[in-house]
């Protein structure tokens, strides 16, 4: 049954890559042939590696939103899928593996496109520092966590909830904002606890490589601990989603 998800993910990755290349081509064109009134400094820059992976992580999170709810999305095909001699958990697991591979591929596409674009003026230098390893891990963990949370919240529902991947962004931003402001007891504690499971909160990188994509979100643990936590939430979410889907009545 993974064949169906391969076709779906392949088509999404194709359009994602096409869009990334189009944006890169437009960007490159304007850098190479700037308008006469524009001033382009070709002296060369230090381009932080962390910035690229954070950007790639953000776009990988968009891909995670598109692919998330995959088990729910196929709810109307259960009569077909569940009457094949394949254990349900194996079907679910194969779907998740394909989606994760696609999210990682979209991450690689953005990293690759950014590197090519930045390499065009040869004076630019990609610079990494000691934090680059963990920043890379975090940039991968956040979209995976987002995928896991969407999957676990939708997998057990027999009705289709394809919009969950889009809805989670404003909800996540709202929770993050509420967790950041000084609310009275016990609201502050409640939103702080909810925010631990808010994947949008993990997309921020405040204080690491001077890159901040989202607001500085209150989360427990240090940066490394949060990254490990995000990966754990992803793994547990996928296990629960698989179990829910297997037990669902349709």
């Amino acid at each position: 049954m993974y064949y169906v998800e391969v076709l779906y993910a392949r088509s999404r990755l194709f359009w994602f890559t096409a869009m990334a290349l189009l944006v890169a081509a437009i960007f490159t064109y304007f850098v190479t042939f700037p308008p006469p009134q524009a001033h382009v400094n070709n002296d060369g820059h230090d381009v932080p590696f962390n910035a690229i992976v954070v950007l790639a992580g953000f776009f990988a999170a968009i891909m995670a939103s598109i692919l998330g709810a995959t088990l729910n999305r196929d709810g109307s095909h259960l009569a077909y899928m569940w009457t094949k001699p394949i254990p349900r958990e194996r079907i679910a697991l194969s779907y998740i593996i394909i989606d994760v591979a696609t999210i990682l591929a979209s991450f690689a596409v953005v990293c690759g496109v950014c590197s090519i674009v930045l390499a065009i003026p040869p004076q630019n230098h990609l610079t990494a520092d000691a934090s680059s390893g963990i920043v890379l891990a975090r940039a991968l963990a956040a979209p995976l966590m987002l995928y896991g949370i969407i999957e676990v919240t939708t997998s057990w529902l027999p009705t289709r909830l394809g919009a969950a991947g889009g809805i989670i962004w404003p909800i996540g931003l709202a929770i993050e904002a509420l967790a950041s402001i000084n609310l009275p007891f016990p609201l502050a504690q409640i939103f702080y606890a909810i925010n631990i499971f808010n994947p949008i909160a993990y997309l921020g990188l405040h204080g690491h490589g001077h890159v901040q994509l989202m607001s500085d979100s209150p989360l427990p643990f240090d940066f490394v601990g949060q990254t490990i936590l995000a990966l754990c939430i992803f793994v547990v979410s996928c296990i629960i989603a698989t179990y829910n889907w297997k037990r669902m009545q349709a």
Binding site: V4, L78, K84, P85
Partner: protein, 296 residues
């Protein structure tokens, strides 16, 4: 030595959704090589019973089994199901569905699949979302039958098909049973069940009202049709016997249902000078309507 278990077994199956009881205490055993037609009005519990059999729903009480064992994923190596609603992937083509079936089913027979696609006139390149309802049903049947199943469970298998293809579907079911397969199918159309099934189960309101083999059912009662040249005379003297169950009048003809025909009723009609008298089997529609209305 223990006898072989029934191929399909429902044992005291009850399925309840909160307060609504969709299936109540259903016990039904279907033997190998049998074609069982499941008849019932809308909401009778036919689809719920089938879904519970296939593991889509968990029984509230009772049990279901295929070949004496609970349904697991490996059961579907030899069991094919055609659902009532379209469960195919709209974005995939007919050919991709066949390919998917080939990958998933260990007994997939590509030559049989091609043959069936030809019978139903399905275009291999067409996306499923562009197929008509009947064509989708036909594709689901192609995929089910190409897996060479020993057990076929079909929920309204001729839904949306034109009369020619409805006949094809019934013939395919009969072929499957003649090769030792077991078929359980539901239908609203009594004529289809009468033509294809050797056993019939009638459900209403979640309860099994009747389960028997079709020939015995039809032989249990006879219809005596007497036609008169003018108005039907008062036949009370002829019909006051115990075997008469029901009398229907239509124009110059009277139809008399009798429990068994020993010739007595026909003899009693003779003095009224009918132009013709003939004795026919009851058809399944009569039986179905009798059962459903009697137990209403």
């Amino acid at each position: 030595m223990n006898p072989a278990p029934p191929v399909i077994a429902f044992d005291n199956l009850t399925k309840r959704y909160r307060t609504f009881e969709a299936v109540h205490d259903l016990t039904l055993h279907i033997e190998a090589g049998s074609i069982c037609g499941l008849l019932g009005p809308n909401g009778a519990g036919k689809t719920t019973a089938m879904k519970t059999l296939l593991g889509f729903l968990r029984p509230t009480s009772g049990s279901v089994a295929i070949n004496g064992a609970p349904v697991t994923s490996s059961t579907f190596e030899t069991l094919s199901y055609v659902p009532e609603t379209d469960a195919l992937f709209g974005e995939l083509t007919v050919a991709q569905h066949v390919d998917l079936n080939r990958r998933a089913q260990p007994h997939h027979d590509q030559r049989r699949a091609e043959e069936l696609l030809g019978i139903f006139g399905l275009d291999r390149r067409k996306r499923v979302r562009r197929l008509s309802k009947g064509q989708k049903t036909a594709l689901a049947l192609v995929l089910a039958l190409a897996s060479k199943p020993r057990v076929l469970v079909l929920d309204e298998p001729s839904s949306g098909l034109d009369p020619v293809f409805q006949r094809v579907v019934l013939d395919l079911m009969i072929d499957a049973a003649s090769e030792g397969g077991t078929v359980l199918f539901s239908s609203h159309q009594v004529g289809q069940v009468e033509r294809a099934a050797d056993h019939v189960a009638i459900m209403r309101g979640g309860r099994l009202l009747l389960y028997n083999d079709v020939d015995s059912l039809k032989g249990q009662e006879k219809i005596i049709e007497a036609t008169f040249s003018s108005e039907i005379p008062d036949l009370n003297g002829a019909l006051g016997v115990e075997v008469v169950r029901r009398v229907e009048r239509a124009g110059n003809m009277v139809r008399i249902s009798v429990k068994h025909d020993d010739g007595e009723v026909a003899q009693r009609l003779a003095p009224y000078h009918p132009t013709s008298i003939r004795v026919v089997d009851r058809n399944l529609e009569d039986i179905f309507l009798d059962v459903v209305s009697e137990k209403a």
